[in-house]
Symmetry: C2
Subunit: 623 residues, 2 copies
Amino acid sequence: MSPKITTELLRQLRQVMKSSRYLTEPIQAYIVPSGDAHQSEYIAPCDCRRAFISGFDGSAGTAIITEQKAAMWTDGRYFLQAAQQIDSNWTLMKMGLKDTPTQEDWLVSVLPEGSKVGVDPFIIPADQWKRISKALKSAGHVLVPVKENLIDAIWMDRPQRPCKPLMTLDLSYTGIGWKEKIAALRAKMVERKVLWLVVTALDEVSWLFNLRGSDVEYNPVFFAYAVIGTDTIRLFISGDRMADPSTREHLLLDSSLEAEFKIQVVPYESVLTELQAICVGLSPKEKVWLSDKASYALTEAIPKAHRYLTPCTPICIAKAVKNAAETEGMRRAHIKDAVALCELFNWLEKEVPKGSVTEISAADKAEEFRSQQTDFVDLSFATISSTGPNGAIIHYKPVPETNRALSGNEIYLLDSGAQYKDGTTDVTRTMHFGTPSAYEKECFTYVLKGHIAVSAAIFPNGTKGHLLDSFARSALWDCGLDYLHGTGHGVGCFLNVHEGPCGISYKTFADEPLEAGMIVSDEPGYYEDESFGIRIENVVLVIPAKTKYNFSNRGSLTFEPLTLVPIQTKMISVPLLTQKECDWVNDYHRKCREVIGAELKSQGRHEALQWLIRETEPITKMH
Amino acid sequence: MSPKITTELLRQLRQVMKSSRYLTEPIQAYIVPSGDAHQSEYIAPCDCRRAFISGFDGSAGTAIITEQKAAMWTDGRYFLQAAQQIDSNWTLMKMGLKDTPTQEDWLVSVLPEGSKVGVDPFIIPADQWKRISKALKSAGHVLVPVKENLIDAIWMDRPQRPCKPLMTLDLSYTGIGWKEKIAALRAKMVERKVLWLVVTALDEVSWLFNLRGSDVEYNPVFFAYAVIGTDTIRLFISGDRMADPSTREHLLLDSSLEAEFKIQVVPYESVLTELQAICVGLSPKEKVWLSDKASYALTEAIPKAHRYLTPCTPICIAKAVKNAAETEGMRRAHIKDAVALCELFNWLEKEVPKGSVTEISAADKAEEFRSQQTDFVDLSFATISSTGPNGAIIHYKPVPETNRALSGNEIYLLDSGAQYKDGTTDVTRTMHFGTPSAYEKECFTYVLKGHIAVSAAIFPNGTKGHLLDSFARSALWDCGLDYLHGTGHGVGCFLNVHEGPCGISYKTFADEPLEAGMIVSDEPGYYEDESFGIRIENVVLVIPAKTKYNFSNRGSLTFEPLTLVPIQTKMISVPLLTQKECDWVNDYHRKCREVIGAELKSQGRHEALQWLIRETEPITKMH
């Protein structure tokens, strides 16, 4: 990997930073954050502005360019990659290390007195704006919103914003029609006494209208905003997409309809001016609901007295709690996904010994098997297919330069998933195609114990996910091992593979309590630098639990695995398991054999069925 | 318990709220928070203003009085007590219930337009001020600081602020002299680039100067502030206490001394004006360090640009990590405390069957045995001595109206502790003097499993206490049981029995990571309303652990119990324990027998020694 040469680009950007064409007054620094105007985790090529200006294309990072300097902040996952991708014009700022200054401290230390720092107000979340603005102000500088994006001004071959066709989802997939969703949303708005709700997250717009898109890789979403009033619905979207008859019919655009469900289709770009116009008409005490993670531009458009900001919109919570149709869809998706993986692992067992399978070809084969399944749409993220030392790189994605052949001498870790029209999957299995060492088995078994501890946990209603994180680590901790990532994230239903507002992590964010119907991942791991990586991940559904005393009728919850793919028993050191853990493994494998076995049979995949039967043989603890 | 009649008091207060003697303009509401000017948990009688105006004397609650209404906010621990203590002039606001308005929402709903709400700026913490002020402002009202406390204005027989003699602690107790502590503190100030540090918490002042007092019940502290500069020390304290020769000598007040260690003794009341004077002299960028929990008055005295606020002062952290002398002192204190409890339990076993022991007399007897021990100073909190249904009231304190006789038919819970000159104790044991039921034993055993799970937990350096909380609940959760309080709190060394900045709780506050040398309690419980209460509490020391793989040299931690009092094996359902848990109990009891046995012997307490030996017989798990 050679760095991108950015000398000329930086020169141009610095010129634009002084240009009266874009600015009333020159700015002395320009901030280029990672995200898009919807604060998405995955972004479209046209929004990869930080990658364009710097060369660094990891998923997290902020670039700041001053008249003399250029600096790039990123976190531990990307220190190595960023160092390889940026040239000597840039200083790498390693976040999380003690001596690394924050963006605001660095700015204060390098800026001449009374400087102006610019940023695109649509890209920067309001809370970040506030933090940086405050720090700059107290040092005599000022943060200014620059309406035209200055990267776009110098990005000659910038790709167009995607505007791909939409897909409509009927009730058999969504369980609830969009009119019903809007009615429920309005009930929440009445409860909170707000008149308007601004929907900025792409997956929330998709979920609300039962539409899907493909504007962003892996995420079946499309560029749009929505503004819901008590008797109006505005959908901000590039208009030509509304020409499609099935979309028009789905949204009832041409039907005679109760006025409050009439959707006004408004151009995507006009969201700010429309929102400003709405706010002009507000009486005192009338409020507009917005996520506190929304952009500075939209937040500022609502006068402070009218803002109602929460960490979570009601859509975010409603979307997280899957209804019966969504749960059934997720079950179907996971059955199909398991079929594909049984085929893959059976194929790998035969092919790996020949020496011809690489990380890339294994990933491709996984995609091939998945794409054979009904309603397959896309992968749900870039497949992590890693063997030996590559497995220790948690966010590894095989590329030709690092591609490694699978062999009988190394652990293989596959973290992959897909989008089916009925659900989203995300599964990790760690396999050995030869004979694992005692140490590898020991580590694998601790990870498995952690996986089981979470999966089998029983906890009272109202418990937040972060309280379960340590269950996943306890067996590792006892031996002085740990992993440096969270244990689980929310999973969308034919939506983003990472979604809020719940998760299982040692980091305590403002997570909502777990509720029956929520779906999260359970994925502890262990990584031995330069040697191997282990992770065992199932997607699990939160379900009511039966307990002896039922928390004085407070009720209790536990998890049911939706992922039904065998966990390689060859990797387990059975004596390290308790009898209860052995029983869990055997029960899980019995269910895999039953459910996935039946599906393999009906799909006529007899060889994979034989593999499944072999891999789900019960384990026995000697007494 | 009959309510306090407050009609006349409220009339007087409402008059004062309009009086030009105290106010330039009338106020329409007055807020009376719980605390004192140091945001102490335990307060002196002169600071019990909320109890005076309302009659409600629980440890947590806020009163708000408007021209027409009076309302009292308190939490679940006190719903019953508050309802009994306040008269019909008051509305009880049950915090945590869905329909209870916040103080600011309630104010907005009842105030006439453009109202002024007053509060004593020394009593209200800055963060609470900010929250309430913001909410009032956005509704067109204003929060104003009222310098003279309006409760004091109508409180005719208000007790004087205590000003009891000080006690000096020498190096054998403190390990570090006060000059050395100040030097270390100044090093931290240099590191953070602050010029001044304001010490507002009473236990921080006590710890810093190696002094103790008795101004507040149970907490060996005294009313004082300190302001530490880079070469000055100001101690704000009522002056006559500095007349005592041993205090003068301890603080080197009459010695020729390096200028930077010369203590200026300043009247307690002048802290605000002195701080304002200091701030006037600050150059730009010069900062003053203050806890973000300090009062609004002190926070406001520092211009915003000069404020350096953190959740934790460096003293708070230094105080939490006990040095060798403090740890040894805590060990000694816990040995003496265990001797007293062995005597007590031996005495109870003989006396309870006679029917003459009550909750109050048992608590008195515990205090009597403790007071026989060397360096005993006081109890460390009001003894919770509760039998049968009273045990289910978590913050129960026996009073004549509720006093119950101990018997062979009910569970007895004793949560008690003492201040010794060398350390602070806090221990809970749950006993049965007859034959416990199978259900009582089952619940006790789950609580014990939780206690052991925390006590034996191994975790990497840098782990925050809240990540261990679920370990204490897991066994209870599995059966649908839980307890509605945290699992542990920091414990001071001959200081407050509750101290920050670490703890073990499902509530995630801004806790600091656990470090070797910190001391916390481990106290899971189970409470069956109207029936019984169970709690098992040890004070435990954070120590380095040895693990097989040692977290790639990150290092690991575990706990060592300082409390060495037998856990009643009669209450244990042994089949519910794992072999490891059995071993833990037997190891713990072996240590109790060894260490406390030796002390009982040397104190000539032979009968209690026999009791100890009986109570520490190993338990055996049948196979």
